[in-house]
Symmetry: C2
Subunit: 478 residues, 2 copies
């Protein structure tokens, strides 16, 4: 049964050909062009057809005036047509032997208007009758780098272990783009919208059985069949880590859900209880979801909650210790005998040899920093190390730049293995153009070294705490 | 008594001349050069002398080999000398008639080492004997744009209503630089460090009586005289809004405080109770402090907690409604008769006419947006309006750019007065260089229009909630 279902949807991710039907031919650039751009950018290497009754061409590619004029077979259609003619497109697709249609088209049940709710039912009904599966409507469809499917030219070409099911297109784009900046890569990302046919349970079942997917991230607004979803979710958590963001957890949010994908939201309490029971990491924002994914992927699991914080700035040291301890982590004191060893070669003025280690004055001294790391390595009181870059505390961009360059660009080989415990990096972004470039380079360099990168201590502490709490619960469970 | 005290410290902010003693003459750039750069940048227009036994010059400015060689009178000294010779510098200053010394120098009680704790006592004792006031040691000193004092070339030249007392130099720099980006301007900012002479109570008393200061922001690690501080704090809150960040609120943070400024931290419960009792807005991070300052300065006080959220993105709409409602604010539904009016000229597909208003498809249509604002103006269900820019949800930077430009750069005159209720703006920063510039321009343009700018919905909701809660408490108090 399991394999049948998997096989059922597997063809969605491996179409032999695609037609973009209803692609705009307007000379000015339109946002729906993103589907074409996405497929070109990811080097989709099977037949790709454009269809619009007006004909013409886009960048040298012929636009067919109707689906039936397309010379080859078509497996998969991306429907960008007006909602009113969507059912008719299904009929045309049936004649052409299409197996699945992703309807990007909006203007169905999410409007809350009776004729449009009916139109969606009609769409589902025609598809069922014709044996065509529908993804959507009102969604962005599939991103699967391995089979060269994408709906944005801004997505990475490389694959990774994270599978995403998102009811919202915008949220799936936000998640992929922002997580990609932090080094996260994806197996399959599916934006599924109103789910008039293929729904969250079908997709979850697919990802639960997908060997390329190790972590499943879910953005859910509402579910079609609670019992089935729960059963599959339970199954999924047995072999994979599941991270869930429930949209519409408040009254106002639930009303927004009704307007967005017409789903029933369900109370926050219900969802929280479910997550706790099934061992799912529950998050409350996309940013938090990304922080958790980064932690799961790049932070070797710490053996406990004791952090060693290493960076610069006395006042910052105080606040980051507070950030950590108020989020369930510990910042234990470094024993005097260890401090004494560092003190031997470190000027006392301007370098606070406690935890956090404020190494302001000595930070330019590569040798001293490496020696300090070596000495701190002998201390077994820390379960993980976090180093950090906070350029905002410097009096000028000149110092920030020098500091970032010294710390990250070449001199300090900060990476996993530098320290006998897991290592993470906090790099605070800067809006100031003269710093932004150095910071982006620092982020890239840290990611290339396999480090989890967080944008603040608060978010680092929060994500590490969530993952540790999850692990503790799991170990009790088994 | 009050006036005497004020007068007592007023001279600190209006020195007739300054000597930077111990400025490094090294050819490579050193961070202490920031004091000179700061004073030059802010156009300090009274005599400014450099002193270092090695002599020489910096960018054409003569370096005197000793203080007594300086030809003119010296009011105020910025001491950058080694801790060991600090007491001797006080003696030399006495001979020269110096009234106050700001000791940037670290390496005193904050090290926790007995000889250095004694050295600090000695420093304070010599100063007392000689009738010289000391700011510090271990701090950045004074920024006062009106009298052209600054310790960073990155600080604004214009004055504003916010006075800051910060035990930490790094935190004061972070606060000024990051808040300045959001339009906040300052009357006086004092980084006071170990407070061996002038302490937080003296400075608070001064700011409480300073006519240029309307809002007082405090970063406190520990206090020297609890009773006096409490009394002055109570006095200060009578006429000014006070925002307080207590560093060292956790065990780990308190240990960091001991290492940073050697102050006793005090429990979080004590401080929370104090803030509640005195009507102080208590914050837990510098970022939160900046959000509160932005709200106090730029958001006309909303009459209630009902928000109208207007922007683009269906999934984003759901999450931001959740962000708002989970932080004590409300996102009420827009009545059907109002929606119907907007519906008349707005395509239904891709535009969710609820609250949040997801206006994705119509956002490029200036006329429609303005008409929509006009119709929504007739609705009295919202106490304030928040519009937003989240470029991360778009599939390509090309769309982000077009969208940001359309929304903010020229076509939409978003400012206070656009809507009969207070207006705020959420602009999410982007690390992507191709978007960063447009976003920075959007931030600048919003600030120039007098809008409060927040970097996320979560932080906007949190700050607005804090200010509303504060106002509600104040109105009960009187």
């Amino acid at each position: 049964m399991k394999n049948t279902r998997q096989h059922n949807l597997d063809f969605l991710f491996h179409p032999n050909s695609i037609a973009l039907v209803g692609i705009t031919t307007a000379t000015t650039w339109h946002w729906t062009r993103t589907f074409l751009e996405g497929l070109i950018e990811i080097e989709f290497n099977r037949p790709l057809y454009l269809v619009n009754p007006k004909g013409g061409e886009i960048e040298g590619r012929k636009i067919y005036t109707s689906l039936k004029d397309v010379p080859g077979n078509i497996d998969y259609v991306i429907g960008l047509v007006n909602a009113q003619i969507a059912p008719k497109l299904v009929e045309e697709c049936a004649e052409k032997g299409v197996r699945a249609i992703h309807f990007c088209t909006a203007g169905f049940s999410e409007t809350g208007e009776e004729p449009r709710i009916k139109l969606e039912s009609e769409l589902a009904e025609v598809a069922r009758r014709k044996g065509i599966r529908i993804l959507g409507p009102n969604c962005m469809g599939i991103y699967c780098p391995k089979s060269r499917l994408s709906f944005s030219p801004a997505f990475p070409k490389e694959s990774g272990p994270v599978g995403v099911i998102s009811q919202s297109g915008g949220n799936s784009i936000y998640l992929v783009r922002q997580a990609a900046l932090r080094g996260v890569r994806f197996s399959k990302v599916i934006s599924y919208g109103n789910a008039c046919d293929i729904n969250e349970s079908d997709l979850l079942e697919y990802l639960a059985n997908d060997p390329d997917t190790k972590i499943i991230a879910l953005y859910i607004e509402g579910i079609k069949d609670g019992k089935r979803f729960r059963r599959i979710l339970e199954e999924a958590t047995k072999e994979k880590t599941v991270v869930l963001l429930k949209g519409g957890a408040t009254e106002g949010g639930a009303r927004a859900v009704a307007g967005h994908t017409a789903a029933l939201a369900g109370s926050r309490a219900t969802w929280d209880a479910l997550c706790k029971q099934l061992g799912i990491i529950s998050v409350s924002s996309l940013e938090e979801m990304i922080d958790v994914l980064v932690t799961l992927l790049f932070l070797p699991l710490p053996g406990g909650r004791n952090a060693l914080l290493f960076g610069a700035g006395g006042g910052a040291s105080v606040l980051i210790a507070d950030e950590f301890e108020s989020r369930g982590l510990k910042v234990p004191p470094i024993p005097q005998e260890i401090v004494a060893q560092i003190r031997e070669f470190t000027p006392i003025a301007g370098n606070i040899l406690r935890n956090p280690v404020d190494y302001s004055q000595a930070m330019m001294n590569t040798e001293g920093v490496l020696k300090t790391f070596a000495i701190l390595s002998s201390w077994d009181g820390a379960d993980f190390l976090i180093t950090f870059v906070r350029t905002g505390q410097f009096t000028s961009s000149r110092i920030s730049e020098t500091w970032v360059e010294n710390l990250l660009m070449s001199k300090f080989p900060i990476k996993q293995g530098l320290f006998p415990k897991p290592v993470a990096m906090v790099i605070e972004p800067s809006l100031m153009p003269e710093e932004a470039e150095a910071i982006l380079a620092a982020i890239h360099s840290s990611i290339a070294s396999g480090l989890p990168v967080y944008y603040s201590f608060a978010t680092a502490a929060n994500a590490i705490n969530l993952v540790l709490t999850h692990t503790e619960r799991q170990s009790k469970k088994f």
